[in-house]
Amino acid sequence: MSTFDRITNNLRDTADYLADGWQELWSKARNAITRFTPAQHEDHPLATTASRWGVLSAELRETGDSLEIMLEAPGMESQDFQISVQNQSLHIIGRKHLHQDRKEGHYYITERAYGQFERIIPLPCQVDSEAAGASYKRGVLELTLPKQKSAQLRRITVE
């Protein structure tokens, strides 16, 4: 193999490696990375220095008659969420507050994001949003959305 061939091969391997790595990262993290808009006029050292991107991982599971959605959003209270269903997609708006009692001191590492965020999760079927249930526990928001009658799994008994 000539040196030129080796260089060509090496370049191609490098490009493939980059593409694979990026693809993997992209497919895993793309949807979970969420933009945070900091609250205006916030008098807190973190208001300007905190990360503007948070990782809010979601999960959607389909059962026979409902959809179960989980969203990781640590450090919030249940009243900080505003949840709605529009056009067969779930909209979650949240507001993560800066704690005023944590103003003092020098920040060494600030990786956690604060402010307002919005996540839109497409739903695989029509849901009955009136009968939806939600809870917030250990930093995870859990929603149960019953499917509309027409979308429910119907079992037909053969006589």
């Binding site: 040196t3 090496n10 599971r61 640590p74």
Partner: protein, 144 residues
């Protein structure tokens, strides 16, 4: 020509290292590389103590281990190992299960006996008081 080839090999190796080692830091201990995910943290220092906030959504208090040894703070644990069931019903799956690990070296001596940790809404809060400042020792050099 050989130099170009070597440079390319090096680049290839370097890219491999960055992508294999998900967090790309060569200075972290081996446990970091074998963990599945790394939680985000905020670290603050006040005159009296260090405060560390760690995002650990879905982690039960018994699933996390906090240790302080020689001013090195280690946070590790695992979550949801038992929940790996019914794979086929998932339409979307972004959460990472399994082990997590973070380690920090604190810049000042701390009082490891007085460390406090609690979890609220998926956030672990660790408060580490600083130990009393050692009095500077003056050594007089004796003449001949």
């Amino acid at each position: 020509m050989n130099q170009t080839y070597n440079a390319l090999t090096e680049l290839h190796r370097e890219l491999g290292r960055v992508f294999d080692n998900r967090y790309g830091s060569a200075r972290e201990p081996a446990a970091y590389e074998t963990s599945n995910w790394a939680p985000q943290v905020d670290i603050t220092e006040t005159p009296e103590n260090f405060r560390v906030l760690v995002d650990l959504p879905g982690v039960k208090p018994g699933e996390v281990e906090v240790t302080l040894h020689n001013d090195v703070l280690t946070i590790k644990g695992a979550r949801d190992h038992e929940k790996e069931v019914e794979q086929e019903n998932y339409k979307r799956r972004e959460r990472i299960r399994g082990s997590f690990f973070r380690q920090f070296s604190l810049p000042e001596s701390t009082d490891s006996d007085a460390i406090k940790a609690k979890t609220t809404n998926g956030v672990l809060e660790i408060t580490i008081p600083k130990s009393a400042k050692p009095v500077p020792l003056t050594i007089t050099v004796a003449g001949e």
